[in-house]
Amino acid sequence: WVDLNMMREAMGVMQHHDAVTGTEKQHVAFDYARILYKGFEECRIITETALNKLIAPPKTPLQVPGANQIPIRSCLLLNISQCDVSETSSQFVVTVYNPLSRPVSKYIRFPVNGPAYSVKDPAGKPVKSQMVPIPQSVVEMPGRVSKAANELVFYAENLPPMGFRSYYISKGNKMHISKHYRSTD
């Protein structure tokens, strides 16, 4: 509950001041961005804790040594194709949470730096993926800090209502990609 307070306060201030419409001075807009970012960060702690409870039983040996929880990061700059984890990791897990009360399918996109990737669903079944170049206008956007020039796209099908599914992504190189992935590299 305490971790929610920053976002509560941010939303209270911003809804009161119509903060997204530009009806504030520029230095106030920057301050709103700061408050909102802090709110997101504190909500991330809650999300991380909640998903950890759902994902793994306590004291699983798979948890990162020295840490109490599996790290779960959100990438707030995905809209401009910038994400530290997907761009720098050779292997990573993408967890997709569906907030609706019915099954939903969703195309997942994130920036990557490698030439080829494989995607596996929780049962280890390969998931078809596609590499797509990031539009030039996004790559050149002022303030974007990323070397990624491509996005990996896959279809997260039938996500459970108010539930999640995790996908395991690993970087490959062309020489070692199985026939299945060849059409998707």
């Binding site: 009806t23 994400c83 997907s86 990573f92 997709v96 399918s105 195309y107 596996k120 170049p133 539009p135």
Partner: protein
Amino acid sequence: GRDIAMGPARFRILLDGHSGKLKSMRIDGVKFDVGQDLYYYEGDNGSNSEAADRASGAYIFRPNGTDAKRIYHQYKPITYKGDVRFRNFIFVYIEAYLLIPGDLVDEVHIKLNNWASQVWRYYKQGAVYSVELEWLVGPIPIEDQVGKEIITRFSSPLNSEGLFYTDSNGREMIERKRNFRPTWKLDLHEPVAGNYYPVTSKISIKDQSEKIEFAILTDRAQGGSSLNDGEIELMVHRRLLHDDNFGVGEALNETAYNTGLVAIGKHILTGGRIGINGTVAQAEHELAQELMLSPWIFFTPADNITFAQWT
């Protein structure tokens, strides 16, 4: 140079093979010409000496009275700077656009100029009645000392009879009639702004004779209108140079990285036959829900964890 068809069988668009611009649309078997362009209104400078002469600003949209000007495609080559080693991809590169066909998604990237671009996307699974148009606008140039309000406008021959529909706070759709108010006699002095309405998630028009609905779903609240029959327009970004005197004391001239803001977002184009196929409205409603309450995506680095360990 061949035209590009995108979209599922029930909602298909055709892009011009030379320019990449939207050319026609086929909704549930009814084909019609349709154009789409980005335009800008010039914001009124105003004197703020009285209410009738306020500048366009944060609180009010008040174009200077001239028609919206089209942002012309400059046909600048798109330079693809990515990894070009993809074996099984065909990047069809024409001077005006980049076509990326694929198993999951077809994309067409169009760069209009240094501050406006668009991406058409057709996701091949799940999309029964829709294609996606991602827009990217900004930093809006102001070197000419003119404030600009950027819109996307779709023009079609659909006979919408002066009517269009916008939602109210994401709840029910409300019928809007151009140059009209249901409860008083309207004397309209602002022919553009006076016909703009809030769009929280959807704006649509209908052709009663063809029984066709064409709708655009938004990923955020925007202003929208239909200023002529068959048209839909939505405002995507604005940068203005004068305070509208409603209290901020500053022009809506937002900056970041010492330049104007860049805005990026999505419009989902959808529609279908009215009355014949009852699932269209349901599909649109579900799409709008999925845009508003989109799944959350989280990342966990797993460089030292194998898949078997993860499971």
